[in-house]
């Protein structure tokens, strides 16, 4: 019998979702956390006070750089603001300098108003989750972006084919059949997918847009001789200047920031200082991405010695603004508290959508297995990968948060070690997923995750690290919100673990008892996903 269009779309949806689903789960969970990357930065640097005087802190950062990196080729400073953990800065040493390790983070510091960068616990904080969701980890970023780009393309296929395959998409909008096994999983997967469908479509498509030059370069290759040509056209910049070698003092950077903010009417986001301390020092002040929907913000270049404006970015063309707006929609930097929380909720829905889809594959096929105690290899593989990824990676994230609290501040390579603990825990979880029966590996891993997440806010109170009572009293809702989220997700994980531990498949047991001695009754054929 020829397959109907809907049936072929169902097939496409199943396989585009399954094959890249595990990677997509990782991207979704870290991307969702990344909506609060500044908050997690602050959470993971508990000794830093909230920034109250950004311009003073900028000057302090300038003094730090003048003292520790006076001969650098360039400095990069993120403008401190109330939401972030102080001011983050990194610099590019001269090529012949002993500091030139090739790894940019080696020459970086986080400057706080009440902290000395030398004594601050190094941590990647929320930046890890942001970077991971497209650069992954432990691999060259180009490989990671190709993988994530491929996964995102499959995600788009999965979304569109899922909509086509879903026969009664409006009729079943509010449907949730409880205690019906496979049908319940389907309804849950459909709910998280359809109710937040605009978000899923937007985030996937705009995510692809951020990688579009890499994924589909042919229009560029056909029209431009080299990447520099299109870079100059898309992202015009002031001409670079060579340092003369004559040392001269620079004006305080905060005065330039004031000037730029006044001229453009928006808050500054980053500063890039080339040839610092030289006669030819230049400062490029770029407006913060939080100030507009278009992520490609305007910039002004100043002569750092005289403080005079040298160059201003021209207004972008229509295509550039369209791209910038799409990237802005994806990154949500423009969002205030309400919208950011809505983005976060939608991200959680997306994570559940991917996870429930992966699990549903095994639930559906378990019913069709000739011998449920001895499934075929593919079933084993998917089932164990599900546990290892969904439960294991969640435990890894919880472990990383704990590592941030427990690792000593002066540990060598502390920031990397924190992250290594995520992967170590994930690795151990994967081994558990191989060794234990899935019912028990799910239970143990979710139980551990839940316990780890739930107890963290209490540790914060005990160790006086921005515990809930003090953050709520101070009206610091970002930090309080993270602790509350830890409590909520911790409880959810424990509830899931208990549910799985107590689960008994009722029908199978009753039917087995009824059919003792009789020929086995065939299970009713599982319906297609759209029904």
């Amino acid at each position: 019998m020829a397959k109907s269009f809907r049936q072929s779309q169902t097939f496409l949806h199943t396989w585009s979702g399954l094959l890249l689903g595990w990677l997509l789960f990782l991207v979704f969970i870290t991307g969702t956390i990344a909506f609060y990357r500044e908050g997690v930065n602050r959470w993971m640097h508990p000794e830093m006070a909230r920034v109250e005087q950004p311009y003073q802190l900028l000057d302090k950062t300038q003094h730090y750089l003048e003292k520790h990196a006076p001969d650098a080729m360039s400095w990069f400073i993120t403008m401190p603001n109330r939401n972030d953990a102080g001011s983050f800065t990194f610099w590019t040493p001269q090529p012949d300098s002993p500091d030139a390790t090739g790894y940019w983070l080696d020459n970086s510091a986080r400057i706080g108003s009440n902290t000395d960068p030398a004594h601050l616990r190094p941590s990647r904080g929320g930046e890890f989750f942001y970077r991971f969701h497209f650069d992954l980890h432990y691999m060259p970023v180009i490989w990671a972006r190709w993988l994530v780009g491929l996964a995102a393309m499959m995600m788009l296929v999965a979304i569109c084919s899922g909509v086509v395959a879903h026969k009664k998409i409006f009729k079943d909008f509010f449907t949730f059949r409880r205690h019906k096994g496979q049908r319940t999983w389907l309804d849950g997967h459909n709910a998280t997918a359809v109710l937040a469908l605009p978000f899923h479509l937007m985030i996937t498509y705009t995510g692809l847009v951020t990688l579009m030059a890499m994924l589909m370069p042919w229009a560029i290759v056909a029209n431009y001789e080299n990447t520099r040509a299109i870079q100059n056209e898309l992202f015009p910049s002031a001409d670079g200047v060579e340092p003369t070698g004559k040392r001269m003092d620079m004006v305080p950077l905060s005065t330039l920031v004031h000037d730029a903010e006044e001229k453009l009417g928006m808050k500054a986001g980053t500063l890039m200082i080339s040839n610092p301390g030289d006669e030819m020092a230049r400062v490029t002040i770029r407006i913060s991405g939080a100030e507009q929907l278009d992520s490609r913000t305007p910039s002004i270049v100043y002569n750092a010695v005289t403080g005079r404006e040298i160059w201003r970015s021209p207004p972008p063309g229509g295509a550039a603004v369209t791209t910038g707006a799409m990237i802005g929609l994806h990154a949500a930097r423009f969002s205030g508290e309400t919208l950011r929380f809505l983005y976060f909720l939608a991200g959680v829905a997306g994570t559940i959508m991917v996870g429930s889809g992966l699990i549903m594959w095994t639930v559906k096929r378990r019913e069709k297995l000739p011998d449920p105690t001895r499934p075929h290899f593919g079933f084993h593989l998917v089932e164990r990968l599900n546990v290892a990824t969904i439960a294991g990676f969640s435990l890894g994230i919880a472990a990383m948060f704990w590592a941030n609290r427990l690792l000593p501040a002066d540990l060598a390579n502390r920031a990397d070690t924190e992250i290594n603990w995520l992967f170590i825990s994930w690795g151990i979880s994967a081994l558990l997923a191989l060794a234990l029966r899935p019912k028990w590996s799910w239970t143990v891993l979710f139980g551990l995750t839940g316990a780890a997440l739930f107890t963290l806010p209490f540790y914060n109170i005990l160790a006086d690290m921005n515990g809930l009572p003090s953050t709520i009293a101070a009206g610091d809702w970002v930090l309080a919100g993270i602790d509350i989220s830890l409590l909520v997700f911790g409880m959810a994980a424990i509830a899931i673990a208990l549910r799985i531990a107590r689960y008994r498949p009722p029908e199978r047991r009753r039917r087995a008892l009824r059919n003792k001695g009789k020929t086995p009754v065939p299970e009713t054929l599982a319906p297609e996903p759209a029904e």
Binding site: F173, F174, F176, F199, T338, L339, L342, Y343, L345
Partner: protein, 99 residues
């Protein structure tokens, strides 16, 4: 304004959700006639349409549409959870409905 927007969207989806035969049966203890379902859905659409200018008033022409889509999705989710997870003993008494 944002709070008003949220309430408006929740009520709109409330109408959509309760127009569904099964949920109407659970909460009103009788199945809806096709005209009643149709009427309820129409009210839902009107409320949803009205929520769009409210979102523009809340956040302007650029961020307003973004807020609107976020609120629509969120309120749909809230109504979904309420209709499916509030105990079945929570019902509405509807004197206007013909027996």
């Amino acid at each position: 304004m944002t709070g008003l927007l949220f309430i408006l969207c929740v009520i709109a989806f409330g109408f959509f959700g309760l127009a569904d035969k099964k949920h109407h049966q659970t909460r009103f203890e009788q199945r809806p006639s096709p005209e009643r379902s149709h009427r309820m859905r129409r009210i839902g659409w009107i409320l949803l349409a009205f929520s769009f200018p409210v979102s523009i008033a809340a956040e302007g022409w650029i961020y307003g549409p973004v807020l609107w889509s976020g609120m629509v999705m969120c309120s749909a989710g809230v109504v979904f959870l309420m209709l499916n997870f509030l105990p079945e003993t929570v019902k509405w008494l509807d004197p206007g409905h013909k027996e």
